[in-house]
């Protein structure tokens, strides 16, 4: 088991390296630089600035320097927010994004599994078709369309919920962004759950449980749900990635000062270190989460557990 851990963790390193290299060179490929603004700087000052941030070195040296610093846990200073380091920026943005993302994830799993189970239990009924049509819509309508629509209905017309902002961390302000972020995931999880639950319910061991006189509720909870949820569990890895990328858009739309907003601002301002910092941070997060999902899978499925 320890060996397996070590192998998996070693496997993470090349993934992260490729990710960092791509992000590092791609952002530098984009035209412009961190010190381009309306106010044109004197050439000497700009040269001094570039030297201070080591931007005058050849790219490979910059990359090596960046990796070296990263290994010591130093994400470097932000170019745009001059007084703050990237680490500090991530620490202010992340708790807000985490609240949004985790909320969306929990929401997506609960309602996705629920909707999918209902559809599977009443397969080919009107309920089933309704759930499936809704989830197809959820998957196909992009969040930058869905979010403004939600705002329009629930904030503008009905006036039930605030249209945006953090509102001092109030729960009411989180509802619309969480829902907008979770909807495509709910839809996808519902479809996954429906498919696998239908298959499980037709399997021989469910018939055995019925023949032993267990009521449907118990059969569902004790016998069917765990195997039916395996595909959902393995989807949680990609779902995390989807929620993180989704949050970038959602935070923009709802004006939430999370990591996603820093990321967009950083990219627009060519704040190299900030963009890199967030890419690495999210990269590690996604890889680690995928690893945890694999462990959960092994824990759920005895056949994987015992090889």
């Amino acid at each position: 088991m320890l060996n397996y851990f070590v192998r998996r963790i070693l496997g993470i390193i090349p993934t992260l390296f490729v990710l960092m290299a791509l992000a590092f060179f791609l952002i530098r490929l984009a035209p412009g630089g961190p010190f381009d603004s309306e106010k044109v700087l004197l050439p000497e000052i700009e040269a001094n600035l570039r030297a201070a941030y080591h931007l005058d070195e050849p790219l490979y040296q910059q990359f090596a320097r960046y990796l070296g610093n990263l290994l010591q846990g130093d994400f470097g200073p932000s170019f745009q927010y001059r007084d703050l380091t990237v680490t500090e920026l991530i620490m202010t943005g992340f708790p807000i994004s985490l609240r949004l993302g985790a909320g969306a994830m929990v929401f997506a799993v609960i309602f996705g599994v629920l909707a999918g189970s209902v559809a599977a239990l009443w397969q080919n009924s009107r309920t089933d078709y309704f759930v499936m049509v809704i989830s197809m819509t959820g998957i196909s309508v992009p969040s930058f369309v869905m979010a403004p629509l939600l705002v329009l209905v629930f904030a503008v017309y009905l006036g039930w919920l605030p249209a945006g902002g953090l509102g001092g961390g109030s729960l009411r302000n989180m509802v619309l962004p969480v829902v907008a972020l979770a909807l495509p995931q709910i839809a996808y999880i519902a479809r996954l759950t429906r498919g696998s639950l239908i298959e499980i319910l037709r399997s021989n061991f469910i018939r055995t449980a019925k023949a032993q006189g267990l009521p449907m509720g118990k059969i569902l909870l004790v016998h069917a749900l765990k195997p039916a949820l395996l595909p959902v569990v393995s989807y949680l890895g990609p779902a995390t990635a989807a929620i993180i990328t989704g949050s970038v858009v959602i935070e923009q739309i709802f004006g939430i000062p999370g990591l996603g907003r820093f990321f967009v601002q950083g990219a627009l301002n060519r704040d190299y270190t900030l963009v890199m910092g967030i890419v690495v941070f999210y990269g590690v997060l996604i890889v680690v989460f995928n690893f945890l999902v694999d462990l959960a899978y092994a824990w759920l499925d005895p056949k994987v557990r015992y090889g």
Binding site: M1, R207, T208, Q212, K218, H223, Y306, G307
Partner: protein
């Protein structure tokens, strides 16, 4: 006393394009404490009728009629009431023990669940009761088995667990739907013994559904014969077997193979002695010291690998025009042997020679031209045909590879010829495999194997998935083709009864090794290896009087793991003649008259026993 009375039972299924009548008005009853057999081929409606009794039909099925149990009509009972009967008063064992237990729950989880549903028991008391039941069905080390997952147990053990969980609430009726079909004969014999035991000890009435008349002969007091949803005949077992009235029953009885009696074989046996004279002419196929080892994950430690010795030192040879039967329990390595001979799995060591050429030395491109001399027919007729290809394309495919010189017309002519020869006619050419029955699919598989006119065909359990009358047709076809084209066949089966009529010689495999090779008739009359005689003894005889009288040698336990085979003679752990020498010394395969046998005590056993009296 009538415990269960079924009258006018009809079962219908609605499929997307038609309504299917699976059971067409069935009447029967079950007395308290009796064992009733229901016999029929697949599709006769025997399973559907019992599933409908417990309301377990698939969603598109409905049942009508009455099923009277303790004054209640089960078919009219609401689900909640029916649940109180399921598992408690009537419980059911299913065919496939591999899929009928929940793979995600431990044995403990599923057994206590069922028990506590019907009986208010503390967790500890429930567990105690479950372990007692596991012990009652003779599971060794029951307490340990209790905490295992189903996939950690063998098929026979899983079926015992199924039976144990059915008996937890001491039901009045136990319905067993082909409980031994997926198991080896040796394990089947154990399970049947267990069923008899349960019937005697607990007085449980048993409905035993099977396609195997041999099982019925030994176990059941009364038999129903079903065919295409109708009841053909009903009566006491002896009456059905000795004075069948119905034409279908008679046909069914004639079709069964009787391993212990002389029947007309499919082949001429004049080749039987020449089959032994291996040194005179050079054999078509010569296998020497063949080993196939797989490396598998170690379940205890993730990092390390274990060696699974599927085939471990096999020698055999095959003459032109000869059939060699290969038998053994599942897991003995017979399918791996077949694949290794054809180089379909990597070989660890050893030599395979075909027509004087050493296959094991050739690289794949050099081997390819030789592939047209040797083909294989697989066990599952439908699964071994590509569902997206027409039968015409499936059969002609080998020609495109090996005879690129042929024109389109010539290929078509060849295909039509071979389809005709295997008895399919030409209209099948543009149809897809799923439009054919199992027997017809197997004919397609034979046509595909035959089209290149090979010298050697390996048949890997070609009839195991088919009903008995169809089995006989396919085997007769293979025997005819052999005579016509001078084919050599290796015929693999887990059932000794099947290979008897088609083989000149038979090789018995145990844990990756051959333990006995003998002329077909000699093997049945005078088995020298204790394992062979146990295998023969395990096959039930479709004759009630003989079956009930004969002394059976039950093999205890399961096949040991090929990962860690027993020391010395591999059969020693299950052999009743085993002594100190067998535990330490590996027996060589040696010749005793016409037989090759690997047993230290073969001579003693061959003289110390009457030639025919063991079964």
């Amino acid at each position: 006393m009538k415990l269960l009375e079924v009258s006018g039972l009809k079962v219908r299924f609605w499929t997307s394009d038609c309504e299917v009548q699976a059971v067409k008005g069935l009447n029967f009853h079950l007395d308290a404490g009796e064992i009733l057999g229901i016999v029929g081929e697949s599709g006769s409606g025997k399973s559907q009728s019992v599933l409908s009794i417990l309301g377990l039909l698939a969603d598109n099925g409905t049942a009508s009629g009455t099923v009277n149990f303790c004054g209640q009509n089960l078919l009219a009972l609401p689900e909640a009431e029916l649940r109180k009967i399921r598992g408690k008063r009537i419980s059911m064992v299913f065919q496939d023990p591999m899929t009928s237990l929940n793979p995600y729950l431990t044995i403990a989880g599923q057994m206590t669940q069922a028990l506590r549903q019907h009986k208010k028991l503390s967790k500890e008391a429930a567990q105690e009761h479950c372990v007692e039941m596991l012990e009652a069905v003779k599971i060794p080390d029951a307490r340990k088995c209790f905490d295992r997952y189903p996939h950690e147990l063998s098929g026979g053990m899983r079926q015992r667990v199924m039976i144990a969980s059915c008996l937890l609430l001491s039901p009045d009726i136990l319905i067993a739907d082909e409980p031994t079909t997926a198991l080896d004969v040796t394990v089947q014999a154990q399970i049947i013994r267990l069923m008899q035991d349960i019937n005697e000890r607990f007085g449980t009435a048993i409905i035993f559904i099977t396609h195997d008349l041999g099982v019925v002969a030994g176990l059941c007091e009364r038999v129903l014969v079903m065919h295409e949803g109708d009841l053909m005949e009903e009566g006491a077992t002896r009456k059905i077997f000795y004075q069948p009235k119905n034409a279908y029953t008679k046909a069914l009885l004639e079709a069964v193979s009787r391993p212990h009696q002389q029947v007309t074989p499919f082949i001429q046996r004049d080749g039987e002695t020449t089959g032994q004279g291996q040194d005179e002419t050079s054999p078509l196929l010569d296998v020497h010291n063949l080993r196939v080892h797989f490396s598998v994950k170690n379940p205890e430690r993730w990092s390390s690998k274990l060696l699974l010795k599927a085939v471990d030192g096999v020698d055999l040879s095959l003459q032109s025009g000869e059939t060699l039967g290969v038998v053994g329990e599942s897991g003995c390595g017979k399918s791996t042997l077949a694949r290794a001979i054809l180089r379909l799995v990597p070989i660890t060591s050893g030599r395979v020679c075909l027509l004087g050429k050493t296959l094991t030395d050739l690289a794949e491109p050099k081997l390819r031209p030789l592939r047209k001399e040797m083909t294989i027919i697989f066990q599952d007729p439908l699964a071994s045909l590509n569902p997206r290809m027409t039968v015409g394309n499936i059969v002609s495919e080998p020609l495109w590879t090996h005879r690129p010189d042929l024109s389109r017309q010539a290929v078509k002519r060849e295909v039509m010829e071979v389809l005709q020869r295997v008895g399919l006619g030409n209209e099948g050419l543009n149809r897809y495999p799923h439009e054919f029955s199992g027997g017809q699919c197997q004919r397609v598989g034979i046509a595909r194997a035959l089209i290149l006119k090979p010298r050697l065909i390996i048949c890997d359990e070609p009839v195991s998935a088919l009903d008995v009358p169809i089995q006989n047709q396919i085997m007769r076809l293979l025997a005819d083709l052999q005579r016509e084209f001078g084919l050599s066949l290796i015929f693999i089966a887990h059932d000794l009864a099947v290979v008897r009529n088609i083989s000149h010689r038979i090789a018995v495999m145990y844990l990756g090794q051959i333990v006995e090779v003998a002329p077909a008739l000699g093997l049945y009359e005078r088995p020298l290896h204790p394992y062979t005689s146990a295998l023969i003894s395990a096959v039930p005889v479709p004759d009630p009087d003989t079956e009930r009288k004969r002394k059976k040698q039950l093999l205890s336990g399961d096949l040991p793991s090929p990962i860690n085979p027993p020391s010395g003679c591999r059969f020693q752990t299950r052999c009743r003649y085993a002594e100190q020498r067998c535990r330490t010394e590996v027996p060589e395969l040696r010749r005793i008259s016409q037989t090759l046998v690997a047993c230290h005590k073969a001579e003693e056993l061959s003289t110390g026993r009457p030639t025919r009296g063991t079964h």
